[in-house]
Amino acid sequence: MSARDAERAAGLAAALAHDVGKYLARIARNVPPGGDVPPALAAMLLADVFETHAGRPALARFDELAPDLAALTHDARLDEVRALLTTAASHERAARDGDPAALRALASLALAVESTLRALARDLRAGARP
């Protein structure tokens, strides 16, 4: 990869970590580890996962940014994140109905997405440094 492409990849990964990872995890991070999602946080968690980007889910924003990055670098973590977000989408109905297990799963998936994207951004930034 050229230096210019490496720089562009680092920028896209940073945008993913920010626009998807950061927003997805801000409520999930506050859920007690292994515990149920407190009622005060449940609605906020659902909004973070499914309505963060002008009412669209995090998966939609991921699908906007990820193809450009995938064209520059073949990193399996992009597929991994997409799978996590798809799994999250499958929990939406149950989570909106207040199912504690579905809410716990959403929080767990959100944290996994965030840490994976953060690691990806960190690695690509390190690779882009002269």
């Binding site: 940073a14 970590a17 920010h18 409520i27 506050n30 005060a40 960190r122 930034r125």
Partner: protein
């Protein structure tokens, strides 16, 4: 100390201001951090999480710099600002900037707001809510690193518990600071005791009696420390009884009914205005016998009667009485009622030590007063003008380096200051200040230092502007850039020793009690030889200096001997022991 006991000791709930273009972190804070108050832009009483209007409300916090200013004007008592870095706002709502890239301006708007806050409220702690990755991407870490109050939170920034710990750390640092609560405490044992006792007594319903010479800070202690510590919702009201004509004191304190006397109107007195809060009765020794009687009734019954009325009104007021007079002597001479004195809780009276008894605090106080001088108002504007004239206002790399900021160092100038202006006070000047009697106490020191630093800065400004005027007009650089060749050197402003000497010589408060500092105040005890008499006087001198410096041998050495204070301190300590004196264990 852990955060839990600190919280238990805390006297009021800390108030946070959140500056963020979004709503989520506010919702998160309101859901999880309910031990704090929040500075909102709303007139309704809080907290927001119990408010029926909460849904969709945009007044919960500040979304941009203008709203931050609005919230701070409404809540000057904000303890910590939680500030986001990236602000996705229309350009019109961003702070003005020379940065052409709009997206970059948005990404760094938090840094611009931080610099803006530093200019208007330099003392306000700010926690930046961001991730380390964001900072790396934006190359903003340099600008943040120079800010002593900003805390880089890393990935834990968005964890409410971690954020709470950060806030606690910032608050703890502020509580431990010598200027905690806006009051310059210093570190002498007497002030530590005063601090402890003042905050403890503040939380009781008992009246408080503050004793101390003029200028020792009685009013400031009452307003900035005791009143906030009472946690009372009502206002702080102060009345200087020495400034009121005797005939008006009763009406001023207790109020009047219409027709009570010729021209009297229906009017609440200071007691009623302070209802639910705190009333400082300054110079209480000036009350006439009749007014003392009326005050006694208030303290006994918690009720006042307006002049011209017969029905009493209940008032709930924390009374603080202050005086520089010897009230016990007034009681003995019959000019002050013994029963009123007893009601003022004399057993728990607080004595504010004169500056000469806490001279070891002088460097700390001096540094605090210099910062305070340039924290606001015309002196801050003067500092900003100097920074501009010296070309220090737009240095590359750090927006914060250009914010008006002043520090005082004693002794040698720092090699390369990176922020604001550093005033340098030479060691001999400090010695001259420590040797001064300070009859006007802390107030006198504050005024003297303010005069010294403002004079030094004005001279430096005049020299810089004169230099700029002398530069050939064909230069293509702006005037402010022409002004200085060695820009960093311009950050150092020495305070001339001659100026300090002149100010000390001219400083004297004629109505203050002249302290006994001359040899005539020593007790001359006849001895069998002249040497015995001299040793006796020397012992008294060492005892006095030991007390005045709180046992600081280096400070004693500076007042006794010329030359290096550290080396001389050992000689002073040796002589101290030879004289048969023993160092007391510090509290």
């Amino acid at each position: 100390m852990t955060s839990q006991p600190r919280r238990a000791q805390r006297l009021r709930r800390p108030k946070l201001l959140i500056v963020d273009d979004g709503e989520r972190y506010v919702e998160l804070a309101h859901a999880l951090l309910r031990d704090y108050d929040y500075a909102t832009r709303c007139a309704l009483p809080g907290p927001c999480w119990t408010c029926p209007e909460r849904r969709g409300c945009k007044l919960t916090h500040a979304h941009d710099a203008r709203e931050a200013d609005e919230a701070l004007a409404r809540h000057p008592d904000v303890d910590v600002v939680l500030l986001d870095v990236a602000f996705d706002l229309p350009e019109a709502r961003l702070l003005p900037s020379s940065e052409p890239d709009l997206e970059r301006r948005r990404r760094l708007q938090g840094i611009a707001i931080l610099a803006h806050l530093r200019r208007s409220r330099g003392d306000l702690p700010v926690v930046l809510m961001t991730s380390e990755e964001e900072l790396a991407f934006e190359d903003a870490a340099e600008a943040l690193a120079v800010d002593e109050f900003a805390t880089l939170a890393g990935e834990a920034a968005f964890d409410a518990r971690a954020l709470s710990l950060l806030v606690e750390r910032v608050l703890a640092r502020r509580a431990d600071a010598p200027e905690a609560g806006g009051y310059s405490w210093g570190h002498t044992p007497a002030m530590a005791r005063l601090r402890r006792d003042a905050t403890t007594l503040a939380r009781t319903s008992l009246p408080m009696l503050l004793l101390g010479e003029t200028g020792t800070g009685k009013s400031a202690l009452a307003e900035r420390v005791i009143h906030p510590a009472t946690e009372r919702k009502g206002p702080f009201v102060a009345v200087d009884l020495s400034a009121l004509p005797e005939t008006l004191v009763g009406a001023e304190l207790f109020g009047t009914a219409r027709g009570a006397f010729s021209g009297a109107v229906e009017r609440a007195g200071r007691f009623e205005r302070a209802d639910g809060g705190t009333l400082l009765l300054d110079e209480i020794g000036n009350l006439s016998p009749e007014q003392q009687r009326m005050l006694l009734l208030v303290l006994q019954d918690g009720r006042i009667t307006r002049l011209g009325e017969s029905a009493a009104r209940p008032v709930d007021v924390k009374v603080i009485a202050a005086t520089n007079a010897d009230l016990e002597a007034s009681v003995r001479s019959g000019t002050f009622r013994a029963d009123l004195y007893a009601r003022l809780n004399p057993a728990a009276k607080l004595r504010l030590p004169p500056l000469r008894e806490r001279i070891a605090d002088l460097p700390e106080l001096a540094a605090s007063f210099v910062r305070k001088t340039f924290a606001s108002g015309v002196d801050r504007a003067l500092l900003a003008r100097y920074l501009e004239a010296a070309g220090l206002d737009r240095q590359a790399g750090s927006a914060l380096a250009s914010a008006p900021h002043a520090e005082l160092v004693i002794g040698r100038a720092p090699a390369a200051p990176t922020r604001g202006v550093v005033f340098v006070l030479a060691r001999p000047s400090l010695t001259a200040l420590e040797a001064h009697a300070w009859p006007g106490n802390v107030r006198e020191l504050e005024l003297l230092l303010k005069t010294a630093v403002v004079s030094a800065l004005s001279d430096a400004l005049a020299a810089t502007e004169g230099q700029a005027d002398a530069t050939p007009p064909d230069s293509t650089r702006p005037a402010s850039r022409r002004a200085t060749g060695t820009t960093q050197q311009a950050r150092i402003v020495p305070i001339p020793a001659k100026l300090v000497r002149e100010l000390v010589a001219a400083s004297w408060a004629p109505d203050a009690p002249r302290p006994k500092r001359g040899a005539e105040s020593f007790e001359v005890r006849p001895g069998t030889t002249a040497h015995d008499v001299a040793v006796s006087l020397e012992r008294q001198l060492y005892e006095r200096l030991y007390g005045e410096t709180s046992g600081d041998f280096e400070a004693m050495a500076r007042r006794l001997l010329l030359g290096d204070a550290t080396t001389n301190a050992r000689r002073v300590r040796l002589r101290f022991n030879q004289l048969g004196l023993r160092a007391r264990r510090k509290a």
